[in-house]
Amino acid sequence: MRNFKQIKLIKKISKIKSQIIEYSNKQIIKLTLKTKKMIWSIAWKNVWRNKARSGVVIVAFTLGIFGGLFTVASMVGWIQRRIDLAISNELSYIQIHQPNYKDNYELKYTINNYKSIEDSINKIPEVKGVTSRLKIFAMASTAGSATGVMVNGIDIEDEKLVTKVDDFIKDGTFFETETRNPIVIGEKLAKSLKLISYKLINEDKDQLIKLDFPQNILQELDSLTNINFRTEEDFEEAVYSLIGEKKAKRYIYALKKQAIKFKLRRKIVIQFQDANGDLAYSAFKLAGVYKSDNQMFDGLNIFVNKNDLRKIAAVPENKVHEMAILLDNGESLNKIANQVKSIANNYEVETWEELSPEIASLNKMMDFYLIFFMIIILLALGFGIVNTMLMVVLERIKELGMLMAIGMNKTRVFMMIMLETIMLCLVGTGFGMLISYSIITWTGNTGIDLSRFFGEGFEAMGYSAEFFPEISTFDFIQVTILVIITGILAAIGPARKALKLNPAEAVSSE
């Protein structure tokens, strides 16, 4: 049995032993940190060894990152604009219908006692406005033409709270008229119903000059002043013949936009089958013309006073076909949708994402596109990096051989090449991100207006030609991570090549 002295000695030895281990561990950590610092420093200096070559890589990265981020930011901004307009104009955040209504839009499928539902919904604090509509598919006809339309019977003031159609009025007013049976239609429909003409008056010319339209072109078009063209084609033909095809192609959009005149107070007859199955019709007078960024919406939707429509449609007083709800923002959409469901429990309550899944999916697609674009760009840049770093290794065989000869182990050589590559990538990325951030922020505030070039095309697809690029901080972080991964992957080949060097051969290489 050990005596007390022996036990004390053993304890003392074990204490000293643990102190030695602790000390040597600290020393190892200290040595590793010191060496790492030195490798970081030497790798950083090596990045700037051949300034021209590093400069080319950095510029390539800068342009690549900017190209990718700006393209995605533009697409995100463009789609966000589409979503914003869809919510503020077409869908609102939440809509309520009778469950069968949307199958065939039949008049009989109505929401009953909508007023009490409206009152309850209005009590939800996040709700900005509620509007109730009668909606009927009908035939609209004028003396010159006829076409199918969706008639929206609205409460003017409620509608103003929920949609922005009143903001898009291009001519006339949004029901600020004493006229009997007023109607507001979209510009696209006005064209279809031949309720337009083209006439360039002196006020239009002054307005164009204010918008930096070239005066010499206006002088060339002087003979068109005050001439009324009944169709768009006639006006275009006259402009083309006066200023030639090249100039006309460039300026026709702005000229048409300014010269278009609407035939306000003209009669439009609306004809449909009423709730009793009888043919109903009534004449309305054109009170205003709106133009949103979505020509499809403009070409289909007309607005009349709900009471005017109710009279001819034979829909009872307490019934509507659709209720639309606008919220302060979309943050608590699902929570409020559930609240609305509990209020309107017999009806179908849908969020804008459910009403228009194709628009909602655009949002999700953008995340995929960002990754997709960046991977393609970084793949191309990655090959450039591999090439550059292989050249770096081949040029420095002698030096790498010397480093290995004097005692730099392979891990450190590998780390040095990896760090050098990653630093090179990150410098380029830093510049790329700085430029991207500045330009995206700037254009995000000013907006990019392509209406002069592609206005009609975009609007025909339902998209605005003006958009505000935007990108999230998360996307920037995502790109940085992708760049670091690219740097690491691109560095592996050259770094492995460096590891395969035989120091004796490398030192004496030419």
Binding site: K30, E399, A405, I406, G407, M408, N502, A504, V507
Partner: protein, 228 residues
């Protein structure tokens, strides 16, 4: 006791068609403080011998024992660490790191050894002063002459406090004046600090300074002359 023992050292290169015996059974010992030159015509095996002596290359047969440690028994990783702690290298083409200053080039190896900043600063300043470059600490290799660069390389080789320095044709790229200066510096360091220098050389001036001259011919020691 000899700090370096070389026993029956052989190196055979296996080419695609023929085998080349670069070094054929060399037995040599080096004592501490020697100033020795390995001479011989081109292709005599000087560089191959020096590479095996410095642990940069493995022998086909035989062994190199430094301070009682046989290099054959060390793994590649252990060999790198052994070189770092025991051997200083001076190369024909200086092989300095162009992005680092003279001071940084010399202290680089001390960084690898984990020396403290105070230790590094003092030793680097001492070494660069000893090789006559005390005023060029912050100069990059591009701003130094060939002779000055080789002196920085000597300082770097000594920075790790090696057991011996191997110099492969250190004066081959230098003019007469630089060669003379470099040899004088190395001789002083040898005599005053008792640092062992082993050169491979063609240069008659180096041979003249050396106190031991080993002549290799066809990979074998032809003569081993110790000057009085």
């Amino acid at each position: 006791m000899a700090i370096i023992q070389i026993k029956n050292l052989e190196k055979i290169y296996n080419g695609s068609a023929i085998q080349v015996h670069a070094v054929r059974g060399i037995d040599l010992n080096f004592e501490e403080g020697e100033f020795a030159a390995i001479v011989g015509p081109s292709g005599s095996g000087k560089t191959t011998f020096l590479n095996m002596l410095g642990g940069l290359d493995r022998p086909s047969n035989g062994e190199v024992i430094i301070n009682g440690v046989s290099l054959n028994n060390l793994s590649n990783r252990q060999l790198v660490d052994f070189r770092l702690k025991n051997i200083g290298f001076v190369f024909q083409a200086y092989n300095l790191i162009p992005v680092l200053t003279a001071q940084e080039n010399v202290e680089f190896i001390m960084h690898l050894q984990g020396a403290s900043k105070e230790e590094r600063d003092k030793r680097v300043a001492d070494l660069l002063s000893a090789v006559g470059l005390g005023d060029r600490l912050k100069s990059r290799p591009g701003k130094l002459s060939g002779g000055q660069q080789q002196r920085v390389a000597v300082a770097r080789a000594l920075a790790s406090k090696p057991k011996f320095v191997l110099a492969d044709e250190p004066t081959a790229n230098l003019d007469s004046k630089s060669t003379e200066t470099l040899l004088d510096i190395m001789e002083v360091l040898n005599k005053e600090e008792n640092i062992t220098f082993i050169f491979s050389t063609h240069d008659a001036r180096v041979v003249k300074k050396a106190r031991r001259v080993i002549t290799l011919v066809d990979g074998q020691v032809e003569t081993d002359e110790v000057k009085k």
